[in-house]
Symmetry: C2
């Protein structure tokens, strides 16, 4: 494709995206497709000869779009939002056009330096501690996801705990404890498996029955038990905004305990961390400044930055880079050897890296910090309003606190009714309606439904329409009538 063809087809593709965003509201949020249905519409064999790009755009409409769950739909309220935004999309387009590799400083200095700079900006924007800044011993880096952030945090913790021996010798007969709760993201267990510790290394700390927050007394018991058993307490994950219910672990208390016993404290604020852009929500960071060895939050969830963009900081980058640095001859260069530059390949699992800082830079500049605050406040405000609607409707009950933009609720059922089954039926009916899309979780074994506000295009009337849909379907679940 020549630059001139790219210009023409590029305009058409931009228009396709703009049109898609404009007509999103008219589409069912969730697709009605069976397994294999999309593939059956695709040619069995690849084309021998090139096709016009328009043919692909036609198939976007005819094959792809009908098979998508529309995460950017203004009435998509499932999981957590995965914000995309015009500014981020366009900056990502620039990144794809540049096509540079940021594995080392020398392979594109601006790619590395812009990332360092924007991550320092974000420290300021979110009120994170100065020791995360790149001008001290710490530093920030963009990972693809919070899962990868947690994995490299674990590797850094092993480097520190093993005094550098583990990368040489492997885990071997050393025994470690990793502390999570039943509400911690599954990526913590996955990281323990990947790092060779196995599920057996994972300790499940109890949570408070009401708040679902980590029980520090139980953490202490488990840490002391491990110490007594000759097991090294390695890493604790404190979550700020859990996936099921946005519960918030007591970071400071966890941190004090970690400090006392040399445990690495990783704070996983994947969803909630970005909300600290608002001064009134800055309490989300309580304890982070004093105690966190590493911290992550995902601008690709609720801060308008197209996936993938997990921002991850360490208080002391030495452990991370010592754990992951390898220097084959073909990557040697004078800048790296000068010690004056950051080579981000040593902060992550992969070698290659895209120029992802561009989209974060674009989002911060397009919205300004006040625009980011407005976005977060809108989500929090709509969730608060929704919670009032839930409370006011006697068919429903709130199932958890809603400090941010997620509301967990459930349908009350008549005595003797099966509440879980009714809520599952309600979820199925709501999602099949195409009006909105919700997901579920369980609290204390009981099914709850989740409404996560915060989408880029979600406004008050969308949440209202979604709630009306839930109400309509609840009637049908509670008083079944022939369809």
């Amino acid at each position: 494709m020549s630059p001139e063809e790219f210009r023409t087809l590029g305009h058409r593709t931009v228009d396709w995206v703009a049109d898609y965003w404009e007509r999103l509201e008219s589409l069912p949020v969730a697709p009605q497709v069976e397994p294999g249905q999309v593939r059956r519409m695709l040619p069995r064999h690849p084309p021998e000869h090139g096709e016009p790009f328009e043919a692909l755009l036609r198939d976007m409409d005819g094959v792809v779009v009908p098979g998508l769950l529309h995460w950017q739909h203004p009435r998509f309220l499932g999981y957590f939002p995965a914000n995309t935004s015009g500014a981020a999309v366009l900056a990502d387009l620039l990144s794809a056009g540049l096509g540079v590799q940021g594995m080392s400083w020398s392979t594109s200095p601006a790619c590395t330096e812009l990332e360092e700079h924007v991550l320092d900006w974000l420290v300021e924007i979110l009120g994170l501690p100065d020791r995360f800044r790149s001008d001290g011993r710490g530093g920030g880096v963009i990972q693809d996801t919070a899962s990868s952030a947690l994995l490299v945090a674990l590797l850094a913790a092993l480097q520190r705990a093993g005094k550098g021996e583990i990368r040489k010798e492997g885990i071997g007969s050393r025994r470690f404890g990793v502390y999570v709760t039943g509400e911690t993201h599954s990526s913590a267990v996955k990281a323990a498996i990947i790092a060779g510790l196995g599920e057996q290394a994972v300790r499940h700390v109890r949570t408070d029955r009401d708040t679902l927050a980590l029980d520090v007394a139980h953490l202490q018991t488990l840490v002391l038990r491990d110490l007594a058993d000759g097991i090294t307490p390695l890493l604790a994950v404190a979550t700020v905004g859990t996936t099921s219910t946005t519960a918030i672990d007591p970071v400071a208390a966890v941190g004090q305990l970690c400090r006392r016993h040399g445990v690495w404290l990783h704070v996983d604020a994947a969803y909630a961390g970005v909300a600290a852009v608002c001064p009134e929500l800055r309490w989300l960071n309580d304890g982070v400044a004093e105690y966190a060895d590493s911290y992550c939050t995902n601008p690709h969830k609720w801060l308008l930055t197209t996936f993938d963009c997990d921002t991850f900081w360490v208080a002391d980058r030495t452990w991370l880079t010592e754990a992951l640095t390898l220097l084959p001859e073909y990557l040697r260069n004078a800048a790296s050897e000068s010690g004056r530059v950051t080579d981000y390949r040593n902060w992550q699992v992969p070698l290659g890296r895209r120029f992802r800082a561009l989209k974060l830079w674009a989002v911060i500049r397009w919205y300004g910090v006040e625009g980011l605050r407005r976005h977060i406040r809108q989500g929090v405000g709509l969730a608060a309003e929704l919670a009032r609607w839930v409370r006011a409707d006697e068919r429903f009950e709130l199932a958890a606190a809603h400090p941010l933009a997620l509301v967990c609720f459930r349908l009350r059922t008549p005595p003797g009714g099966d509440a879980d089954e009714a809520n599952e039926r309600l979820l199925h009916r709501v999602n099949a309606s195409g009006t909105t899309f919700l997901t579920h979780s369980r609290i204390d074994g009981r099914v709850v439904l989740r409404i996560a506000v915060g989408g880029t295009f979600t406004r008050r009337h969308h949440v209202e329409q979604a709630w009306q849909c839930v109400g309509r379907e609840a009637d049908r679940v509670l008083q079944p009538v022939p369809d």
Copy 2:
């Protein structure tokens, strides 16, 4: 940014990329910047108020572009190419606009099914074995990089070797051997470190002095020694097209040995594998069909597909998914439980995933298989011609075979001259000229220079200009005159 603003600014951004590609040739390939120079041009604090997108585009020109190594420059000949292309960029734009998550089939069926389908297409296009296809026990998946592919291959190998116990128990006192050569990509050692085996688990198999290919007799010695020592031979990496010189390990012979001893064979064809699109290069796959347990190649290197796009296949997906599957309540869904769908989150380290299949689909459709062949043949042909120029110039010698599009050479020096120092000086001068950009490696301890043809925009006259530049600078290195 409203859809209407997006339309206007999107056209402008597309034009910026088209302009960039058009003027690339007029830019120095490598930047002349000092560490910190880019950051000093950026505002110390983030903007409180939003800025017009045009301000960012201005800074692209004023701050970013001067700080980049231009990987898409037609005279960029360093490392390996990192092909971007119009078709891939536009499909990636569609992906960013859709903003869907492909972690599970149910979170966007088309995202998963298109990926399965296009990976099956690629099996056909590259002449890979049918057992990699998704309709049998195998299957393909897009990873970000070959590093991550190697890591998950290692985890699958551990799952098989440990009969499923290792994900529960960790590595513990089990001892494993991982077999690589000095030419294997550094990600193999990195994977062993990450997986908790440590560098001690890595065995360095000798290579043939001339071909730099893995010495199977030595591999056998190391495997038998490990067996005798009670160490389980776990995984061998056979590379098709090594990073330094595109050396090719004897996959079939390695595979026979692996089969005999239950060793997982991972074939790393990150750079070279895509060349098998040409029937005359299909020999690159020799042995893969019979013996590979896993295989990867990177369309984001030499097959016109913007980073990141590593295509990775396994012959039996069970080991991979059993190693990596976790199912928290909030991800449960009927489709997954039916067993009829693929949930790609269980094939990779991260949970979230972008819709990356779109760009690969677009590239295959835009170029057609014949267009992909033309691209590969152009690179191979230009490299062959370049090698003739090297041979015809008595100042230089070829340093390795050039089966594909990489030519390794060195400057001969007068007896008593320091050849390494002279070649390093030559490299520095060439890169400082801005005309082209090359990188180096070492063969048998001696510095060699690498010219990697195969860029999306690289044509014959660019290689010619680059070679003239090398010749000019060689004169200055060999017969120093005052500058």
